[in-house]
Amino acid sequence: MEKILQKKSLPKWIEKCASYHIYAPVKKDALWHYNIIDKPADVQLDHPNTVISPKKLIFPLREVFFEYQTDDEDKIEIKEKTPKDAPSVVFGIRPCDARALTLTDKVFQGDFADPYYLKRREMTTLVGLTCNTPPGHNCFCLSVDGSPNSKEGFDILMTDMDDRYHVQFLNKKGQKLMEKAKDLFKTPTEKDRKAAENIWKEAEKKIERQIKNIKTIPQKLKGMFESPLWDQESLHCIRCGICTYLCPTCHCFDINDEVLSSSPSKGKRVRTWDTCQFPDFTMHSSGHNPRGDSASRLRQRIMHKFQYFVTKYKNYQCTGCGRCITKCPVGIDIIDVLEKVRDYGS
């Protein structure tokens, strides 16, 4: 269902959604972050993409599973900490980030259904914004089966048309949100539709970067486990977690007990993000680390995204948001690496 919303009415709509927690990109200093909104007027939707993807809202940096406590008689009491039943809505999500959630869904619904992730997912309505304002210099969504107008993963997708928004309600979850302020939404005219389609076409042209013949890469990678390429390309890698922590599709995590002493009477079991780029990621208790050097870690990152994941879920585990390129401290460029892989040996 398509509708038209006047820009000036956006705050009114958001006001009507008071029963939800509202999230939207907010600018702090030079950077944009998804934050909780208390004043509807703060939702501007004129943002480039945020530094940290909205995955943090569904798969938070820190998730408390449960709390436990033992009493003097050594009885253990456990308090489950599943996410609350509070619905929330996120405005301004870019298509790459929404697609990313459809990929992490595959993982968290997979062999084991993760209640924490799924609960948050269920409680959250995703309102997207197509990328017709110029995209980032490192965006390459088109190369990885995405698009600046992709609907994947959204409940609602908006398109900025100067004084109005073209709004697509993509499912019930989305429509529920429209119900809140029916009268603000007008049915688009044919002209509106044309305009929107035009904007979408233009948007695709604005994507500057791409990887040709990316389709060949998964197959190519199969034979490259032992390739010296990984050494060459990772020599200047400093092994920080930026590329993976900013990645909307990376989903590795670590589980620890948070306690004050090594013989605790109470504590919390907590999930935090983890990354294959850290030395302790695959460290064995024997001290042996099968991914002891940068080369094997870069390989793991690329292989996981463009080989293992593809084999298992039929998608690249990358939506071309370009964050890992923009923020890499030493200019490692995943497109560059993939092209080298593609052309390797030929």
């Binding site: 820190r62 920080c240 935090t272 302790d280 401290p329 200019g331």
Partner: protein, 343 residues
Amino acid sequence: MVNLEELKKDAKRILQDKKVKYVIGYRRGVDGYEAIPAFFKAPEECDDLVWDPTCIHNLVRFLRDEKVRKDREKEPDKRPVAIIAKGCDTRAINVLLQEQYISREDVFILGISCEETGVIDGKKLRKKIQGKKIKQIDFNGKDGFSVITEEGKTEVAAKDVMAQRCIECISNYPIDHDIFFGEKKKREPENPFDSLDSLQSMPNEKRWAFWKEHLEKCIRCYACRSVCPMCYCDECVVDTISFAVFADTPAEEKANKIKWLEKSPVSSENFVYHLVRAMHLAGRCIDCGECERVCPVDIPLRHLNKFLEKKAKELFDYQAGFDPEAPALISSFKEEDPEDFIR
């Protein structure tokens, strides 16, 4: 003015003569204007060598990897590694020498003077040209550059885009080198601790709010740690498991790894992490500003180290990285060290 051709020539020569294992330097990144760290193993590769104010990275950090690699090898190649080093970078080398982490024979220093311009802060530059796509930058001219974007040429003054740490720099040319490039002309900062004044003059609670707002953002990607030439510990307080684990390490020693702080990126733990790191770098940090540059969420980490640098100077008249023979800040004392803070 640094002569890039000279630099290339010398880099080629030392590789040709097998004097060095390889050269750690800079080449042009994919975006076409920013320099990125690069390793040159063959003379011909040196044609890609670049030097300009986008060469902001402190390459000394890569000596960590070299050392680890060397320790792993059965018969390590004893030749030195050549490294392109700015003034601040050579101070970092001095600290590593002072801590006997490397010895002078291990490095061949291609010292480069930053002269008038210092290096540029990418964030400042992008702001200056309103995020336009940069195609190329022409760095000729000692106090200004011309930036070519898709919308044409913009002239920017060096001082407008110079990294803050360069504005406060006290060593704009190498203090140690094997070959020197550029001129030894001192650029004295007006106030080497300029960026601290506003913070220090804040009332306590305001300063707390400042740090809380920033450190709450920390996602613990540890880029600050990974990029730092001084963070060469095999095992870090923030790591949840022990890395110094070997066949002969008893189980209890593994189990007894102290958890000083949690992995969770929450305020209290982030504070402890950055406090510990700051203390750990006291008298060692040479203000290359890399930690702050690489931080994906723009935490002004430099302030923490800079503050201790200032205190070390004020209280103990100590400056890191100028004398590899001198005793370290925390492994020395003077009888007249201040103690007015002690009851």
